[in-house]
Amino acid sequence: MAFTLYSLIQAAILCINAVAVLHEERFLSKIGWGGDQSVGGFGDEPGIKVQLMNLIRSVRTVMRVPLIGVNSVCIVLLLLFG
């Protein structure tokens, strides 16, 4: 129960790493969650699966480069302060 803000930040970093690791063609297309299958819902009801796929793709696109820096900082902090 003794959460600190730092543990929340660590949990967020781990979750974003998990999303960034999902590869588009090796994995997501195999299970039908590839990005090229999200087009087609031009009504106002995209559906949860399409929204999730868009979210995963946008997180991967945006967070790829900042995650390098953030992960390095996190590793250095963990090595120094345990």
């Binding site: 959460f3 600190t4 929340l8 929204q51």
Partner: protein
């Protein structure tokens, strides 16, 4: 009340409303009372009185008559005002201060009524927020508008009451206050993030902003405080009873408030609308409302032994 026009405006503007334009306020609905009319007169009189005795009592002081130091003082004050403008402008880019001001424009009557509704929402009839030319009215004029004053005060009071409860059980140490505060803050942030994520996934067109969600999630601290205080005063049974009452009250409060914001108009008026999308929105409303009692119990049960 301008109900139909407000509803059509509600549909067309799913994004954040321009709350910062209401800081200046349309006529008749200013955020804060303007008490500056009495100010300069009184301050001017005070300064004259202060300068008079000083100039008469210290004729040898020629500090302010020296032109160079006068110039330096004027330059210094202009530099200070420039610096303050720059800080204000840059701060407003990161933290929307003008939007935050809207949420703190409360008065005693509003706080009293809102606390009453939070503990006993069963007699309150109309739950819609009044709008004024597409800008939501400040909380002091409409008891249904969300505010941030009650959640902030509730959070701080919860931490103090938690310290008190731990102290009566000889488990208190000053670091525990910080631990309680950061735990509660972390749960609050996680709850707001999960609600934002689920709103995004269900593609609800709503004008609920992040700060609105923060306000609604902060309303449960009132029930938690009531439960813990009752438990401290009257024992464990009173804690469970009052917590049960406050959980039911906050559940009803959240359902009635969120129903108008998340569901489509027809469903919000009580008619049964079929369709997977409306059902999903109903489930979302119910799960947000059901998460409040769970958090209320989770954050207080370790305080009452």
């Amino acid at each position: 009340m301008d109900y139909t026009a407000a509803q059509s405006g509600f549909r067309q503007q799913p994004n954040m409303r321009l709350r910062n334009s209401s800081v200046d306020g349309p006529d008749g609905s200013q955020l804060f009372d303007d008490t500056s009319a009495a100010g300069p007169g009184a301050q001017g009189v005070y300064r004259n009185q202060q300068a008079g005795p000083q100039a008469a009592g210290l004729p040898g002081q020629s500090f302010l008559s020296d032109p160079m130091s006068n110039l330096a003082m004027v330059y210094g004050s202009s530099l200070a005002s420039q610096g303050r403008e720059m800080v204000d402008k840059n701060l407003d880019r990161f933290i929307p201060i003008s939007k935050l001001k809207y949420y703190f424009a409360v008065d005693t009557v509003y706080v009293g009524k809102k606390l009453g509704i939070l503990v006993f929402p069963y007699m309150h009839e109309s739950w819609e927020v009044c709008y004024q030319q597409d800008i939501p009215v400040a909380p002091r004029f409409d008891v249904n508008a969300p505010d941030l004053y009650i959640p902030t005060m509730g959070f701080i009071t919860y931490i103090l009451v938690a310290g008190l409860a731990l102290g009566t059980q000889d488990r208190f140490s000053p670091e525990l206050l910080g631990v309680q505060a950061s735990s509660a803050l972390v749960w609050l942030i996680m709850e707001v993030l999960v609600v934002l994520l689920s709103l995004y996934l269900v593609t609800v067109n709503t004008d609920l902003t992040t700060i609105d969600l923060l306000a609604f999630s902060g309303y449960k601290y009132v029930g938690m405080i009531v439960g813990v205080v009752a438990g401290l005063l009257f024992g464990k049974t009173a804690y469970y009873l009052s917590l049960l009452w406050c959980c039911a009250a906050i559940f009803v409060f959240m359902i009635r408030t969120l129903r108008l914001k998340l569901l489509s108009e027809a469903a919000a008026e009580g008619k049964l609308v079929r369709g997977a999308r409306n059902q999903l929105r109903m489930y979302l409303t119910m799960s947000i409302a059901a998460a409040q009692p769970i958090f209320m119990y989770w954050l207080t049960y370790h305080l009452i032994r």
